[in-house]
């Protein structure tokens, strides 16, 4: 039974494939910016839209600090499982 965090990982994985980022071996500790996934603003906006489509909300639009790592994104979707 997939948890919301599993589904969020799948969304990130699909996003990385579609954007041809060519980044392998990413994990919860991988950063979203700089030396991590190296997202720019347009890519982050694209990822936020995909997450919003999947969950109805996303950590980039929730207010407060932007997530800094994959783990921050996953932490936004805690609790409920399907």
């Amino acid at each position: 039974m997939a948890t919301d965090q599993d589904k969020a990982r799948a969304v990130i994985s699909d996003f990385l494939k579609r954007t041809d980022k060519g980044i392998d071996g990413w994990g919860d500790n991988t950063g979203l910016w700089g030396d991590g996934l190296e997202l720019d603003s347009l890519e982050a906006a694209e990822l936020s839209a995909l997450l919003e489509d999947e969950f109805g909300s996303d950590p980039f639009s929730a207010g407060g600090d932007l997530p800094e790592s994959v783990g921050d994104v996953l932490a936004f979707y805690t609790g409920a499982s399907t």
């Binding site: 579609r18 603003s41 347009l42 982050a44 906006a45 694209e46 936020s48 839209a49 995909l50 489509d53 980039f60 639009s61």
Partner: protein
Amino acid sequence: MILLLEGAATSSPDREAVVTSEGSATYSELLDGARHIAAGLRRRGITRLAVVEPDAGWVLRLLAGAALAGAEPCQYQPDTDAGEFADHARALDHTYVVTRREDLRGSFEVVRPESLLAEPLDETLVPDDERAQPLMIRTTGTTGVPKAARHDWRVLGRTVGNVRPMPDQRWLLAYGPQQFAGVQVLLHVAASQATLVAPFPRQPKDGLEAILTQAVTCVSATPTFWRFLLAEARSRKAALPPLQQITLGGEASPGDLLEEIRATFPAAKVSQVYASTEFGSITSVRDGKPGIAVDSLYSESNPTSNVRVDDGELWVRAEAGMLGYAGESGESGESGESGAGDSGGWFRTGDLVEIVGDRAMFRGRENEVINVGGVKVHPLPVEDRITALGSVAAARIFGRPNKLTGAIVAAEIVPTGGVGGADIEGIRAEIKAAVADLPRAWQPRNVTFVDAIETKGGKTIRGMEDT
């Protein structure tokens, strides 16, 4: 309208004037109906009326009857929501509503068209070109609440003054007769004493059915309508008959669509009309290419042109435009659509254009521009690249609000043959390649696949998605 109808009824009384889902009528029958309706309006003291009627035969009788009585009709979308209609009728102060619908209630009196038709004639009512023949046309309103433009049939009639009788033509009514483009088709058909083929509903599949079964020879429709009609024909493997005249309007016509139309109907004359509810019919392009030829724009060497480009926007001079918006007292085009005219009678249109070589190419409406992190994105060039793909039947580009960049470019895609069975990931890859040379902010960041895209009045809805 009443004068055109009278002329056609005099020269061709028994010619089939209109064919609808409910039946057909000759020109003499339409004229007779209009006279009875005029008498009914006069006896009831009705000088302004809302019309909510799907059948074009009834619409023609009502519009012509109102013109004869000097009353101002205003058509509403025939299947408009009852509550929404009540609000709009109140806003436009319509206290009489002519309709066969049973569910319309509000601060107005419902008048049945049958009761008007049953009225005895009033012999004092005769067509008089000296008297005002008002008509109110609500804008399509692809964004915001529709406005209403006040016109006069005598002014609108100027645009068909040179039309010769073409009684063998059969025109498909693909627009709603409540739209400005629909009114233009009604006028053209009456002026040419031709036959109007008017199915209802007026979806592309209904238009295709009419073309295949009603001996249609001429079609005027939006590019969006044409795209879906051709897709429907392909999916049904329908053998389309030759057409004489094809007219596109209401939106910019993409080059790939023009090519497809030319390939499908090689014998047809193809015209692109630039017109609006407010400014009327301004110009037409007949060379089969997208955009407007630069040498046809206004210049010192071409001072009679009614079209010019200023700071990336199309400006026009209206020769048969509206008298003003509802509620305004102006009588001679005092209000442009953007509310901004200059002393030479030129008005802003809100249509953005770019000069590319010898063409002025449409880039979309001013209010359709998507601001992606400060970069202004025009939807049409993106849409054109995607719809040129064989795997895509139709596409809609719009702005999706986004906290990080203000907006991102989003796309709704109708795969050729529908979503079921389509190679979604393959189409995604094709789209990505098709827009790869556009600036990154222009490239769709959110692509969804749908069976139909949202339209209004036959036009694709672009601009920003509601939050």
